[in-house]
């Protein structure tokens, strides 16, 4: 019987024996992880890449499809890394949770740093190695002509996944080192990631409910949530060809290194006998307790908002009575959160004496937060930027007015004035009226972005039709329409159409025949540019067809029963017949004189019958 002896290493941060045993012990788990990764990533990539071959004649569509695919792959890869990181951290660090294992590891003739380094290395190898194996299986697809799946794309995916996995593994290690219980480690990891997402959501919702004009979608609390930040960065980066430099990985790796350094310091100070305890450091107790109190307080506030207000993100400010109930709910949540956290940490139900003080502190903080937001004590909601500090403003209002960007001094001044009027208006009035959401996104000259979103209560089209003589918020929509219908406003709104590459688009004309049936033709590629430059552009830029809020969203008897559709292909969907409508217009002598003239000249076969009446 000869078993052989491995050669000892002098490396102080890596024990080859511990490293290898860590990798070997859990090989069935690693195999399962690879199978999941293969099913989740490789198989869909095979399927979509093979379908992309069918679009080989249209490189732009194919590239767009693959970009969207990689964004999805980025998200799925992040999910794998998110779950994998904590699983790997918990199984490889069993000595942090099990007293027998802690005794075994503690009695080995290695430094604490060596144990830390060996576990870190083993986990990193697993978390990077499995996606690497999955990526290797993708590479043969690159050999298929027209698959658009090259080595560079796979390498980029792998690099991002590896970086994300490293960061999440660092957070998972940190969570493990703070606790002696697997359940609490999972909870901490959740607190640092998933719970942070909920916190972010709850904070956005409550702030938008309490502060008029603060936009729920535009606020950035991503600093609270490493997971949110990572998933946005990962999916955004993969889909963004401009960020293909390997240097973009540096921020990820720096974050991972910083968190690992923190974990190392904690591990060195941690006593191994804390294996099995709820928390490894007494100092963590108040942090967990207060975090649970804050989370529960926000959760209760959000639940109240959910119950009292179905459309949670519409930014309509709360009434005074609602604010009082909200504050009470948040105080109750704060008390319950601290109580439950104390129960978990003390493993006892007799904790009221310990928890009431922190509950009281958080309750007072919740009331202060609600009052500060509701009365806008910091002046955030009332703040309107000076026109001189604004580079550009994007204005959006529901589906009627989108992608409107003004950057001229006049346009910016008009937008700032509209903003001031909205602040003064304060959404006062009849809440049963329809709600228009005017959203302003400022790009300031100092590089910052400022987003505000204001609900305006108005039955605008009834007012325009003369059915409502004085509508509460109609004058604000009129002011927005003036900006949107200016030359600058029109140019920006239609920039997506004018600047498009039409090779994969469709320009379709649908028209009524004399017998009541309809026919359609697709303008050939040779005619599209002429049509856009000499008919579509002049009508949208200079004629009423380019107006928004013109009072009539349907077809009237003055229109011809002929409509023009601008269609863009749906890239990720491999069905070549699926398109999305970018623009649709009915032809009329008054609203689209240039298009009518163009049709008469180039397609006399299209019959210009007057419409039979109004329809949408």
């Amino acid at each position: 019987m000869r078993w052989g002896v491995p050669i000892m290493s002098d490396a102080s941060f890596l024990s080859p024996g511990l490293f290898k045993s860590s990798l070997r012990r859990f090989w069935p788990l690693w195999l399962a992880g690879f199978v999941v990764l293969f099913l989740m990533i490789d198989l869909p990539v095979y399927a979509v890449a093979s379908q992309a071959c069918q679009l080989a004649g249209s490189p732009a569509a194919q590239a767009s499809m693959m970009d969207e695919l990689w964004a999805v792959m980025g998200l799925l890869g992040w999910l794998y890394a998110f779950v994998g990181a904590i699983v790997v951290a918990i199984v490889l660090n069993d000595h942090l949770f099990d007293a027998c294992s802690a005794t075994f590891i503690g009695s080995l003739p290695v430094r604490r740093g060596t144990v830390f380094g060996s576990v870190l290395a083993a986990g990193t190898v697993v978390l990077v190695g499995l996606p690497a194996a999955a990526a290797l299986l993708m590479l043969p697809l690159g050999a298929i002509p027209g698959s658009a799946l090259g080595f560079a794309a796979v390498a980029r995916w792998l690099a991002v996944m590896a970086a994300v996995a490293c960061v999440l593994y660092a957070f998972a290690l940190l969570a493990c080192h703070l606790s002696g219980s697997r359940a609490v480690a999972l909870l901490l990891y959740g607190v640092m990631n998933l719970l942070a997402v909920c916190l972010e959501w709850a904070m956005r919702m409550l702030v938008s409910a309490l502060m008029y004009g603060i936009d729920a979608e535009g606020m950035v609390f991503d600093c609270l949530s490493p997971a949110v930040w990572l998933v946005q960065a990962a999916t955004g980066w993969i889909g963004h060809p401009g960020l293909s430099s390997p240097m973009m990985l540096a921020p990820y790796l720096l974050v991972a290194l910083a968190v690992v350094a923190g974990s190392y310091v904690l591990y060195g100070r941690r006593n191994l006998e804390t294996a099995g305890d709820s928390v490894a450091f007494e100092q963590i107790r108040p942090v967990l307790k207060y975090l649970a109190g804050i989370s529960m307080s926000l959760l209760f506030g959000s639940l109240y908002r959910l119950i009292s207000h179905i459309d949670m993100l519409d930014s309509l400010p709360m009434q005074r009575g609602e604010v009082a109930v909200l504050a009470i709910m948040m105080v109750v949540g704060a008390f319950l959160g601290t109580l439950f956290a104390e129960m978990i940490m003390s493993r006892s139900t007799h904790v009221l004496g310990k928890a009431w003080r922190s509950g009281l502190v958080l309750g007072c903080a919740a009331v202060a937060l609600v009052a500060t937001c509701h009365f806008d004590a910091l002046g955030i909601a009332r703040h309107v930027p000076q026109a001189s500090e604004v580079a550009s403003v994007q204005l959006d209002c529901d589906y009627r007015c989108r992608d409107l960007v003004v950057s001229s001094p006049e346009g910016v001044a008009a937008a700032c004035q509209l903003h001031s009027d909205l602040v003064a208006y304060g959404a006062a009035g009849n809440r049963n009226l329809p709600n228009y959401e005017i959203r302003l996104t400022y790009q300031l000259k100092n590089g910052r972005t400022l987003v505000r979103s204001y609900p305006v209560l108005s039955d605008y089209y009834a007012y325009r039709a003369g059915e409502r003589p004085a509508d509460e918020g109609a004058w604000l929509i009129d002011a927005l329409a003036v900006i949107a219908n200016s030359q600058e406003g029109r140019a920006s709104r239609f920039d997506a159409v004018f600047g498009a590459d039409y090779t994969s688009w469709k320009l379709q004309v649908e028209y009524a025949l004399g017998d009541g049936s309809y026919a359609s033709i697709e303008l050939p590629l040779a005619e599209r540019d002429d049509f856009v430059q000499h008919a579509l552009r002049p009508d949208l830029m200079d004629e009423p067809a380019g107006d928004v809020f013109d009072g009539d969203m349907g077809m009237s008897t003055e229109d011809y029963d002929v409509s023009v559709y601008v269609l863009e292909p749906v890239h990720l969907n491999t069905n070549p017949d699926d398109y999305t409508v970018v623009l649709s217009l009915w032809l009329s002598d008054e609203r689209t004189p240039n298009m009518v003239a163009w049709m008469r000249e180039h397609h006399p076969e299209i019959e210009l019958h007057p419409s039979s009446g109004w329809r949408q």
Partner: protein, 296 residues
């Protein structure tokens, strides 16, 4: 060889060790005894370098143990619940220990494994608790330690295995002057192997002494006086360091701290008509010393 000075350790509000001092000579077998919760395992874990002292020092061979791999290479620790990677094979454990303990002697392990009948390919989870304990001994002894720390080493072993294990330990002590620090509740077995004993209670070292001195320092004596009503024994009691006293009719049984000859001479001088000195076992010394009538 092992020098513990002023060692203290607290777990929250509980003081597990409170200024413990201990000295273990090289090549000796030191028995650590004490009631449950006395702090024996905590002390062993400090000597093994598992725990970080709150205060005090733990040195082996003159060097501090904590975070000192060079010192820990010479220490093998067999806790009462030895940790195994349960899905690992015997061979895997041998390779792991060989890769971590520089002195690990694979040939020695092979010999020991053969003695106990271990198959290298057998997985640890298929071994009984007693066999796992034997495997722990094999791994510990194959590391060729200068210091062997044993916590309840004989629990779960059958008599033959106990004999074999103790034989192996004694053999190593005799051949290599290995130092053994053993904690056990089985005081009869400790009496057979130990040459030094330390008695712990409530986190403190109550006494530590050579076993023969310890046993010579306590006597159990049966005594009868001519007086009927206990006046005789009442007269001698203040002159003796009595740990325990019992009376059956005119016969008094006393457990006394002190030498047998001095106690006997005193009793006879005070008019005892019958004196019978009995040997005291380590178990009895332990029970009386820790003040534990409730241990009986």
């Amino acid at each position: 060889m092992i020098e513990v000075r002023g060692l203290s350790k607290a777990f929250g509000a509980v003081r597990a060790l409170d200024g413990v001092n201990m000295h273990v000579e090289e090549g000796s077998i030191y028995g650590l005894v004490g009631p449950n919760g006395a702090g024996k395992t905590t002390l062993l874990q400090h000597v093994a370098g598992v725990m970080r002292p709150d205060a005090g020092t733990v040195c082996v061979g003159g060097a501090a143990v904590w975070e000192n791999p060079q010192v820990k290479e010479a220490i093998s620790y067999v806790p009462s619940d030895f940790y195994f990677f349960r899905q690992a094979r015997v061979r895997d454990l041998c390779l792991l220990h060989a890769s971590v303990f520089p002195r690990f002697d694979v040939q020695r392990f092979e010999q020991l494994a053969q003695t106990y009948g271990f198959d290298a390919q057998r997985t640890v989870r298929t071994l009984s608790k007693g066999m796992q304990k034997q495997l722990a001994f094999c791994l510990a002894l194959a590391a060729r330690p200068d210091v062997l720390l044993l916590d309840e080493p004989l629990d779960g072993l059958d008599p033959a295995a106990r004999h074999a294990v103790l034989g192996q330990v004694m053999d190593e002590v005799a051949k290599r002057r290995m130092t053994v620090l053993v904690s056990s509740h089985n005081l009869r077995e400790l009496t057979d192997i130990c040459d030094h004993v330390g008695i712990m209670d409530t986190g403190r070292m109550r006494l530590e002494r050579d076993l023969e001195d310890l046993q010579g320092g306590f006597v159990k004596v049966q005594v009868a006086f001519a007086e009927d009503e206990g006046q005789g024994v009442a007269r001698v009691m203040p002159q003796l360091d009595v740990l325990h006293a019992e009376t059956q009719g005119r016969l008094h049984t006393l457990v006394v701290r002190g030498g047998a000859s001095q106690v006997e001479a005193l009793l006879q001088r005070e008019g005892a008509v019958f004196v019978n000195v009995l040997p005291l076992s380590l178990e009895e010394i332990f029970i009386y010393e820790v003040g534990g009538a409730h241990h009986e």
